[in-house]
Amino acid sequence: MTVEANPTSLPNLPPGPLDASAGPPDATNGKVVIRLSQIAKNYQVGTETVHALRGVDLTIYKGEYVAIMGPSGSGKSTMMNVLGCLDTPSSGRFELNGIDVSDMDDNRLADIRNQEIGFVFQTFNLLARSTALHNVELPLIYAGVNAERRREVAIEAMGQVGLADRMLHKPNEMSGGQRQRVAVARALVNHPSIILADEPTGNLDSKTGEEIMGLFEVLYKKGNTLIVVTHEEDVARHARRLIRIRDGLIASDEIITHKTAVSA
């Protein structure tokens, strides 16, 4: 098993019942969003096989706020790619909302990404030539939402990240923090089951980074399921559950108690 003999490690258990101070009240309803069982991912590099993930078991419940940490090369990105349905595992079973997605074909995975997953990237990854609003509309275009409804929903998402007055700005007319907010709005717009953020503050100064983490806190309180990959302890501390990965295995999985609650 992947879990070290660590008294604080709580693998595959909902955090709510064990620690009332962790997670929002509705995290206790016990609805499983992600269930990984024995997920392995191997890469063939020349004649050598790299084992990026070596049999990960993990359960994440609706409404959780999870941080994933680990040294470089430990398998964080690989895990994110699997969780984000950008990649399929070499072996093991991955259930998203109770549906096995491990063997889905490309088109169905695209639909899953579109409907169930919101990505936030370190480098924002906005379309440079499009307005903020259009960037936010993009997932809805692929979802086939009609223009009117699309606009409506995108405007709402822009409002949620506090950029109602920046809709028609292009990314190069915005600060880094604002760009990341647009990216968050884009991740939110389809009401996904999970929001995956890979080093969301990596390209921001610490003050702006705190702002974004504040935004995540708000999203968490609204009941979104958040998974954040980071190598900064300061960032990870905002989460309610911390998973450490080492050599393709989960090294620890603990609840973060917020005695000195994050002052967002």
């Binding site: 984000g84 490309d106 088109n107 639909d111 990237f121 990854n125 379309l127």
Partner: protein, 411 residues
Amino acid sequence: MRVAEIKESVFMALAAIAAHKLRSALTLLGVLVGVFSIITVMTAMRALQNVMESQLSQLGANTFQIQKWPGIPVMDPKDWEKYWRRTNLRYPLVARLKERATLARSVGAQTDLREGETVSRYYKTNPDVAMLGVTPEIFQARNWTLAEGRSLMSSDLESFRNVCVLGGSLARKLFPQGSAVGDSVKFNGVRYAVVGVLASKGGLGGDQDNFLAVPLTTGMNRYSWDRSLEILVQAYNQDSFADAVEQVRGILRMVRKVEPGKEDDFEILSNDTLIEQFKKITLAVRVGVTVISSIALLAAGIGIMNIMLVSVTERTREIGVRRAIGAKKRNIMTQFIMEAIAICEVGGVLGVLCGLLGGNLVAHFLNVPIAIPMDWVLIGLVICSLVGVIFGTYPAYKAANLDPIESLRYE
């Protein structure tokens, strides 16, 4: 494919074109040249065709024309010599034909005598008025109708009278008010009594009326009999038309002593043969333009493929992002093919506009009215889209099959 997706693609394509103006302009140029060459030539040819058709309508019903030269200008010098060596069609031949061609209702002759200025007591024209020498039969053979006065008569020819019939628009110029008939005009210093005025043909060009007709004999007395006439033969009806042509052909061959098996040493023009000749000549032009524009479009296509490959590489990240937020392979494929089509269509529309301009400039120099060949405009634009699809497919395929994870990592 959804409308939103196509809109998105077109929007992104135009944004991409706008972002790389010079690069796009160079790429567009190829398509532009290809379409331009098609549209220019087709516009010019359509304009010529319109003119030819209006010339055809100058021949009256069931009428054909015999002349030394072919109906369409001769380009090849060798051919030119062949035609030039032919014996002239002289005046006595008209009488022989009248006598022998039993299937002919009438046989007439005409010739262009001279261009010059025409003067009335009210007005002096530019020196561009054509003087035609005609026999009386020409009036019917060319569908001339009199607005006023009388037509020319056999007696005018027999007595070499200095009389004339004015074309409608010329009459209006020379005699702005009042009647021309009974008055006189001076052409190249010689006075002619006006006996009739033709109804204006109007139609395209307007210059069709800018002539005066005098008795053929009067004209040739003044400007030499050493010329080849155009002989116009009218058949009785449509049914006997072909037989009449054959009969006249036989008589001419006999009179001109053409050996059996040798080709005619004269041309017989009817509406049908004119159209045929026109088609033959334009076929060469069509083939030419097809080859040239194909080469241009092929070059353009390769240019577009190249630019699209660059674009795919430059936008690897964007592709990764789109895939991450739910774009399927075929969405990416559609986007890049649409983009290629959009580039081609921008070039195509510019090419069509330039081509219409160019073709009508040619028409202007050939002194024929302008034309807009809508069918070729459409064909040109469809070809553009095809070029876009054909040469955009490979880059689009590459884009669609990029690994999303790699793409997201791409710097």
